[in-house]
């Protein structure tokens, strides 16, 4: 199937889906292509946590803006998306971490996000299964959770309703210079290409500074009400922040099914899907230290997934300097679900002009020196 599109989006994960929807809604003739199914990569593997994250001002700006878009979309989301505005509790183990809680509250307040500080007693009431003796928590009521594969499918359907074409099960072998070549030999021509291939992006664009950062998750059987908010330890940011070491951090999500999703872990250098049991054990031990009863709950499955990590922990949204047709929407690490909607708006206002929702400079791919040298893979065959 060939023909001239206005934009071809490579990748039907949540970011690609959001971008496709945004493009189609603005009247661009849009084609989305993915080698597998909608939302089958990191979108399926990760937690659907919609969270305002303050590792940096640029990260906070993008997550807060995007979170607002999710809230506005919430009532349109079908039930299988399982959108739940349950909020996050950033759990403080001691007084030192409580100081961090108060600092964090200030940071959120500066951008207009209201939060509440819970003391030890209030925390125990809010989450009875947390261990005794925690110092308290910061309650971010505007955070939410959802089930990402169905959210991505919803966004894709919205894109299709606005005229987008979706090609699934079509592996992409090259993307650049206005052409996306598929494994079956066909080529799609487009004025613009959006590379939203997540951890797979560096295969298609060798110069792009995206590395795989693997994570583990464990899902339990159904225990409705065991946990009521997304629970994250304050040390989570340290774990996400480190660029070199393998790490774990307490991060547990209640699903609407009553199942608990237990995370989190981060590894560099792991390329295969097979579970790293030592790291999984460390992750579970960390989780059990916050939720002592967790050990007795039934676990149904463990899996891994690959986040797309960049050197400065900010995504790549915008034009790729080496190629006038190529735009990036990738490198979202653990925040792809949250920032998908915001990414799409930043991307299309960059592509087409229009009022910029937030300053796009921090996310421009050109900020990395190598971006100017790297050429996208075009006509070469790939295994």
């Amino acid at each position: 199937m060939s023909g001239l599109a206005d934009v071809v989006v490579v990748g039907a994960g949540i970011v690609g889906a959001a971008c496709a929807r945004a493009c189609a809604l603005r009247g661009l003739r849009t084609v989305v292509v993915d080698g597998a199914v909608v939302g089958g990569g990191a979108t399926a593997a990760g937690m659907g946590h919609i969270v305002a994250m303050d590792d940096s001002p640029a990260q906070l700006a993008l997550t807060a803006y995007s979170q607002q878009l999710w809230r506005e979309m919430a009532e349109d989301l079908p039930p299988e998306v399982e959108f739940d505005a349950c909020g996050t509790l950033w759990v403080a183990a001691d007084e030192e971490e409580m100081a961090e809680v108060r600092r964090k509250q200030g940071v959120y307040a500066s951008i207009g996000i209201a939060t509440e500080v819970l003391d030890s007693h209030a925390l125990a009431e809010a989450e009875p299964h947390l261990r005794r003796g925690l110092a308290g928590a910061l309650q971010a009521g505007s955070d939410a959770v959802l089930y990402p594969p169905c959210a991505a499918a919803f966004l894709i359907r919205e894109a299709q309703r606005a005229g987008a074409e979706v090609l699934l099960g079509q592996a992409v072998v090259s993307a650049g210079q206005g052409r996306v070549r598929l494994q079956n030999g066909t080529a799609l021509s487009a004025a613009r290409i959006v590379l939203a291939a997540g951890a797979d992006s560096s295969r298609l664009l060798p110069g792009v500074p995206v590395r795989k950062r693997r994570g583990h998750l464990v899902i339990t059987d159904r225990y409705p009400g065991y946990v009521r908010h997304q629970l994250v330890e304050l040390g989570y940011l340290k774990s996400a922040h480190s660029m070199t070491t393998d790490s774990v951090a307490f991060n547990v999500q209640p699903r609407k099914t009553g199942q608990l999703l237990i995370g989190s872990s981060r590894e560099y250098g792991a390329e295969v899907a097979e579970v790293n049991r030592a790291l999984m054990t460390a992750m579970l031990a960390r989780a059990e230290s916050y939720l002592p009863g967790l050990g007795a709950l039934g676990a149904i499955r463990v899996w891994t997934g690959f986040r797309a990590a960049t050197p400065d922990k900010l995504p790549l949204i915008g034009p790729w300097p080496g190629d006038a047709t190529l735009w990036l929407a990738t490198g979202h690490e653990g925040l792809g679900i949250t920032t998908s909607l915001g990414t799409a708006e930043v991307l299309v206002t960059g592509m087409l002009g229009g009022k910029r929702p937030i300053p796009p400079e921090p996310y421009l791919p050109g900020r990395f020196a190598g971006a100017h040298e790297g050429a996208p893979v075009t006509e070469q065959a790939h295994a």
């Binding site: 059987d221 225990y223 099914t257 039934g298």
Partner: protein, 90 residues
């Protein structure tokens, strides 16, 4: 319900049931005329595979949830709660 000399007595949903030694909890629940679990959309379910792979026979035994009753032999004094009881409490 069978009366048996040397029978094993246990509770199913608060009612006393006596079964032959070696009887599985799944069989005891079926003999008591009740379902084992309620499905996610509210259907009554009972054992299907009898060998521990279908998970339809799950009941709560002595407070422990999600127990596959076809793989568990009745013991004296066991307290079994089935989906029927859960549905009533809901």
């Amino acid at each position: 319900m069978r009366e048996a000399g040397g029978g094993v007595s246990l509770m199913v949903n608060g009612a006393s049931v006596t079964v032959a030694p070696g009887t599985t909890v799944a069989a005891a629940v079926m003999m008591a005329g009740t379902m084992t679990r309620t499905s996610v959309s509210g259907e009554p379910r009972a054992p299907l595979c009898g060998m521990g792979i279908c998970f339809e026979c799950r009941v709560t035994i002595d407070g422990a949830t999600h127990q596959r009753s076809c793989q568990i032999v009745c013991a004296p004094g066991m307290d079994v709660q089935t989906g029927a009881a859960e549905a009533r409490q809901a």
